[in-house]
């Protein structure tokens, strides 16, 4: 199975997806992320998709679901670095993914997470 690194920095888990994941690998990653949250009790999760060239309906749903599951466990998720071609393709597919928090890069993602986990759950980019 393809291994994806799961990093922990302070209260935050960072997952940089570096390879093309097939469906089972994506499910496996979801499971591992949730297990990690359970183990370390992170408040924030950042999934970096900066080098992901394809997000189809399956991968899109895995991302949305993972964020929902993480939230049930008290962890806010930010997806960072989505490529513009991927964004345009997702929209053309009809996937707006409006429930997701997003940021341009990891740094902005961490700023957003601090905001989100600081008791304020409104969507904000400051």
């Amino acid at each position: 199975m393809i291994e994806v690194t799961i990093l922990k920095i302070g209260d935050t888990i960072i997952v940089p997806i570096q390879t093309e994941l097939h469906d089972l690998a994506a499910n496996f990653l979801q499971e591992n992320i949730l297990k990690k949250i359970e183990k370390v009790g992170a408040r924030g999760l950042i999934i970096d998709v900066g080098v992901v060239t394809i997000i189809d309906s399956f991968m899109g749903r895995v991302l949305v679901d993972t964020a929902k599951m993480a939230r049930l466990m008290g962890t806010e998720t930010v997806i960072v670095g989505m490529k513009k071609e991927v964004v345009m393709t997702l929209l053309q597919l009809g996937l707006m993914m409006q429930t997701l928090h997003t940021a341009l890069n990891i740094e902005d993602g961490i700023t957003l997470l601090n905001r989100l986990t600081g008791g304020n759950h409104e969507r904000s980019i400051i």
Binding site: E20, H22, I54, D56, S57, F58, T89, L93
Partner: protein, 139 residues
């Protein structure tokens, strides 16, 4: 002047999720070599991903062929997905179904149609399904 013709052609057998990744890579490689824009590549490869997965999920396995095609002055890529699965009872419904409406897998048919310049589906219940998609350069 050349009529519609195909030059490069490649057949891939798709039987599991790793093959889906391979199918995506092969389609991308051809589009790259033909000079398609990154956006066009992303659209088409996403459609390939949806359709290849459909074969694995619904038919267990299938065959994809990737071809470079030509019509008039346009160059294009064509992908044909052929399986011997159960076929589709109601195509219109299958195409309408969005990914948001259901949790079941294989909802990518309608999505693939939205992403491609040309989309054609032929299906016979009990015999199988054949989906052809094409994308042309300069769109």
């Amino acid at each position: 002047m050349k009529g519609p013709s195909s030059k490069d052609s490649l057949d891939i057998s798709v039987a599991n999720y790793e093959d889906v990744i391979l199918a995506r890579q092969k389609a991308r490689e051809l589009m790259q070599s033909m000079g398609f824009s990154l956006l066009a590549q992303t659209r088409m490869v996403t459609a390939v991903s949806e359709l290849a997965r459909n074969m694995v999920v619904h038919a267990g396995r299938g065959q994809m062929s990737v071809n470079s095609v030509e019509k008039l002055n346009q160059k294009g890529i064509e992908c044909i997905f052929q399986d011997k699965g159960p076929g589709i009872q109601n195509i219109d419904q299958a195409l309408r179904q969005g990914f948001s409406t259901s949790n079941s897998l294989g909802l990518g048919l309608g999505g693939a149609k939205k992403l491609c310049a040309e989309f054609d589906i032929q299906t016979t219940v009990g015999k199988g399904t054949r989906v052809t998609i094409r994308e042309w350069k300069t769109r």
